[in-house]
């Protein structure tokens, strides 16, 4: 098999896999599908904010983008939002 063919083949495979995996990456980033979904996400996050943004199990969620963040993070790695300092749950 010639080098050129291998190169083209690998390129095609990469593009293909990227396109097929796209929905999974979008889901992982909680990218909402529509305006309504986005609105609902905002409300859910707002409610979660009120209850607490720090949980008992040590897994936190970014109040802006909803991404999972580690407890000791000060900034969200997804959207850069400054994270509230961890307080023990009342």
């Amino acid at each position: 098999m010639s080098l050129g063919a291998i190169f083209v083949g690998v390129a095609v495979a990469v593009v293909t896999i990227a396109y097929i995996a796209r929905p999974f990456r979008a889901a992982a980033m909680h990218t909402p599908a529509s305006d309504v979904d986005r609105l609902i996400e905002t409300w859910v996050r707002a409610i979660a904010d009120v209850s607490s943004s720090t949980t008992r199990t040590g897994i936190n969620f970014c109040p802006q983008c909803g991404r999972q963040v580690a407890p000791d993070h000060r900034f969200c790695p997804g959207c850069g939002q400054r994270l509230p300092v961890n307080e023990d749950v009342a």
């Binding site: 098999m1 010639s2 050129g4 063919a5 083209v8 083949g9 095609v12 495979a13 293909t16 396109y19 097929i20 995996a21 796209r22 929905p23 999974f24 979008a26 889901a27």
Partner: protein
Amino acid sequence: MVGEIGTLLLGISLAISLYAAYAAWRGIQLSAVPASSARSRTWLQSAQNAVYMQAALLGAALLILLVAFLSDHFEISYVAQHSSMVIPVYLKISAVWAGQEGSLLLWCFLQALFAALATGCASERARSLVPWTTVFLSLITAFFVAVTLFLSHPFTLLSQPPLDGRGLNPLLRHPGMIFHPPALYVGYVGLAIPFAFAMAALITRRIEGWTAAIRTWTLIAWLGLGLGLLLGMRWAYDVLGWGGYWGWDPVENAGLLPWFTTTALLHGAVMQEEKRGFHVWNMLMVIFSFALVLFGTFATRSGMIQSVHAYTVSNLGGYFLTAIVVTLGGSLALLYARRAALKDSSPIVEGLLSRDGMFFLTLALFTTLTVSVLVGSLLPTLTEVFSGQRFEAGPAWFDRVTGPQFAVLILIIGLCPLLGRGVAALQRLRRLRWVVIGGAMTVPVAAGLTGFTDVFSLIGFAISGFAGAATLAEFVEGVMTRRKRTDEAPLNALWQLLRLQRRKYGGYLVHLGVILMALGIIGTRMYPFEMQITLNAGQSTAVKGYTLIFEELKTAFIADYNATWANVSVYRGDTYLTTLQPQLNRYTGDQTVTMPALLPGLHEDLYLILSGWTGDGTSATFKVIVNMLVNFLWLGGLIFLAGGGLALWPRMEHRTWNVVAFSVGLALLFGAGWAMWGMPHGSVDYGDGRPLVGQEAPDFRLSLLDGGTTSLKDLRGQIAVVNFWASWCPSCVEEMPALQDVWEMYEDKGVTFLGITYQDDVSTVRSALTQYGTTYPVGLDTGDRITDRYGITGIPETFIVDADGRVAHVHVGPIAAEALVTQLEALLK
């Protein structure tokens, strides 16, 4: 490198199609639990992306094969086998699907493309069925890609690439090659879509609306298959040179069988949508349509139908057979498993003579037709297996078995619009009774008067007339009813009717087309005429009202073949019709292709084939075939396609798109009509045709070189020898001394010689005359007027006109002095 990329694309496509099936399945599993609905959507979206990607990759692979053909990549074995440097571009393109490997790749691409369109653009009603449809369509695509990649690879490379390819099979060098296979494949591949949706409907128990959901796809597949079959028939008629259009060949039958079941499905779907049941029938029809598609491709690629031993030669057969068994077994098992959901869906038939009864009968007839043709195709194999004796079901067997069934179908076409619904039904029949009786009588009477006297054919004509009248009455009544409301002009009302009720009137147009095709089939099958005849040059023969005169044989070397053709003038009585030029092409490798010559007419086609000839061209053997009413077949086919197109024509938002779609459809139909009847098929009109011996010689006026003019009338009382020649024609100048000698012998005996020069100039003519010492009057035929009037097909030609102005002798080619003297002596007596 080009071939290697193709291979890689195929491999990646296979992986993706398997992934798409898995992803869709996972999405379906996850959707069962509400909590994982988001993840379900993700998987389904990924599956959809995979389906799109599949179509793109297979399209790219096909494109690569196309590029390989256009750039003469003979290191790819498939390209070397089917192409060469000299064949024209349009044939290089169609060579892509000329062989097994390329045609399978085309199949794969169409499969993926249709899957992408069907799942991506699914209508609202169909949306819920898409996930399972994706599973099945992806598995089907995976199967075909696997077969292509591992068993029939189009991109295998040759270790030593040849300098030039083997060239395209001469039989395939025809525009039909461009359209016939792709159209057929649209039909075959298209049938996978309704099948997949039907399976999805069964699994999800959403059985009510599935036929409506995929109505468009079923129509597209049905129309594609019909178009492919019609194109195949016309191609066989034009090119294969046996004078027929359908031989009940197993390969032809392989395309006809799924067409029967799909037509049945279309009709059953109407009933299902009118809530009259037929659910199980429709399921069976769609399952068998797809199974027959697999069977068809299996039969044509494995040779199994010819002999049960042949398929071991190609290992493809075994895999297709397994696929058929799995498909049939799985779908029938699924149908049985869902029988509870189908419980209350038996046909609601209120007696045979009702609309439902007629539909039921239609479905039953198409089923029996399918079984008949299937049995006939398998009969050689079955009888060989069971009795050791091979019984070949020939065309006669098929005609006898299917003929009556087709006749009943045409009868139903006529009865159905008459029966209507409920109480109004009988009133309708009563109102229209004279119309249909009239139709049932006029056609046989007209046929009988024009020479069709066989009893069975007259019955067939009566049934066709009846059905035609009933169908036309639908159009007329529709227009009349509409005009009562809107007061439009009749033509406008008709147009609005067609535009607004496309499915109904499209269907009626299709029926009308089928009735016309029936007329053509009755004419050609029940009144066959074939005759073999050998003629010497100049000899004439009378055949069925035509006079055929074999003039001469000509040969030429064109591109990579040797062409030999005969000039045969055709007269009806004294009237010249045309000159037919049946041809025989001999290619390198001793392959011969016959090119028949055709004189089309409403009543019949005159069809001439050159079978053979003696070495020196003085004698040739012809096969003369007269096909009665065959153009009704082609006309009916066009109307059939128009009806299908009308039914399919989507209602689009913007007026411009509607106009565009309509114009394109109309243009295609006119194009097809022009290709069949506007273009010559091996016939050439030579002016007014050569005058026959005994006819009055056409008068003309000739300006002589030495000044003055003469006309043939002036020469009355004398015998005139009229010689057509030119100075640039070698055989003409060869005979000039002979002509001069005879002229000198007879100039005082009441004989005049006249030389008519064809496409020459004064100075060259003068030198030729001086060189050969010609002293008889010679003139130039300016504007070729005289050669046209005399139907000259070549030079030299000599006519001897007697003293009364009648043609006494015609000689095509150079004439010897002895022959001329003999003729003159006979006349002078």
